[in-house]
Point group: C3
Chain length 171, copies 3
């Protein structure tokens, strides 16, 4: 059995939910491993990020988001509206959590308290899910012709460096 | 290690979200592979389809849907209501995407523009997820006695031929 | 290849959605198996239960729920409100399903009909998902420092004994 790992690196600007389309990178990694039959696990190690499978689209909005990503934001906002104030609609973050975050060495939070108001980002990521597994069959990732793979960070409160972890297992 | 693939084939009538209960087919495939311990990956290659785990129910509504599937439709409709018009509630499909779809050889879309109004189906599928993995232990798929496995196509705009991909890995 | 299974056992009191944080148990199991590179599959065999990845928090509400779990309840309740009456908002459970449940030997349902009013618990679990897979790399479970793993039973209608199944595959 072949087992190989890879990490993809991303940077967000911290102004909105940020979507990265990674199908080609996933295909390239599968090809590098030489695995013909097996699985590809795509997993976020960050709790404001998620991984999902969605149709290739051709139009983008004024912010550069694919139309289905923009529409996804709209629906998720109904369930978990953007957090705007401390402990109003959401219980999170809470006093102890805030003190924990602000007390860490070099904490950005100590300088800018509002960045912890990202309850909605955590919950949207939970709803979509931190991981999706894809089948590799005869050397092909089974996404169909028009299926794309997205990694998203729902946290728009600050610029972040993010990783998406890939693992191929198979023969 | 044993690794085997299988595809299940389905046809929808294109009048509603269509649910297929596939637990027995999954169990039969696991038995065929001879795997006693490992995993079964159940993955949709279509972006309007999803895979999920839900209780066996005994009643169906007038459209033939299990009661929990009918109730699932109701909740998902609150988050992503059925798309009815071009570029109103949803940004999708967009001008370029429409032209791409209609321009493909033999495209059904060129004949019936309304079939692309399925933004809600894509987004409902994203919310539920394109894949679910199940554990195989001592030759048994760990669904419990009353856990069923569903493959669903949320696209009710046209009759479709659909595949659900299964992969067993284990010993 | 190493392949090992483990089950975690839980008891709920049947008064609310009950969350169990299981990251340390998952880490310990990975260490026991000796697997350095591979995957950990965390799967619920119960259809009112789900598995998800969420940030470590430090504050709990009056019911003992972590703040993000409490906030998750709030959003899920918008999509699938708590079932209160028989066949009102939800179609589930239905007459045949009720008779099936009540007719089983030693059925609690025969004594207390209201425990079957848990449509919302089934549907919330479907929305979150019955399983999440995590990558193991260099002996480490890729949750990041502040990522926790939760097993939840959304069924608050009765005290239940629940299992969460873990499988490690790798080298």
């Amino acid at each position: 059995m072949i087992l190989q790992h890879k990490s993809l690196d991303f940077e967000t600007k911290g102004n909105k939910a940020t979507y990265f389309e990674i199908r080609q990178q996933c295909r390239d990694f599968v090809a590098e491993t030489g695995v013909k039959d097996g699985i590809l696990v795509v997993q976020s190690p960050h709790t404001t990020c998620a991984v999902f499978f969605e149709e290739m689209v051709h139009d983008v909005d004024a912010l550069g988001d694919d139309f289905l990503c923009r529409d996804l934001n709209k629906g998720l906002e109904l369930v978990f509206p953007k957090q705007k104030t401390y402990s109003d609609y959401y219980a999170y973050p809470g006093t102890k959590h805030f003190e924990f975050g602000a007390g860490r060495p070099g904490s950005e939070l100590a300088k800018n308290k509002a960045i912890l108001l990202n309850a909605d980002a955590h919950l949207k990521a939970t709803l979509i899910g931190s991981e999706t597994t894809f089948i590799i069959r005869d050397g092909e990732l089974l996404t169909g012709s028009f299926g794309y793979i997205y990694f998203v960070d729902f946290d728009g409160n600050r610029a972040r460096k993010r990783k998406c972890n890939l693992t191929v297992m198979g023969v």
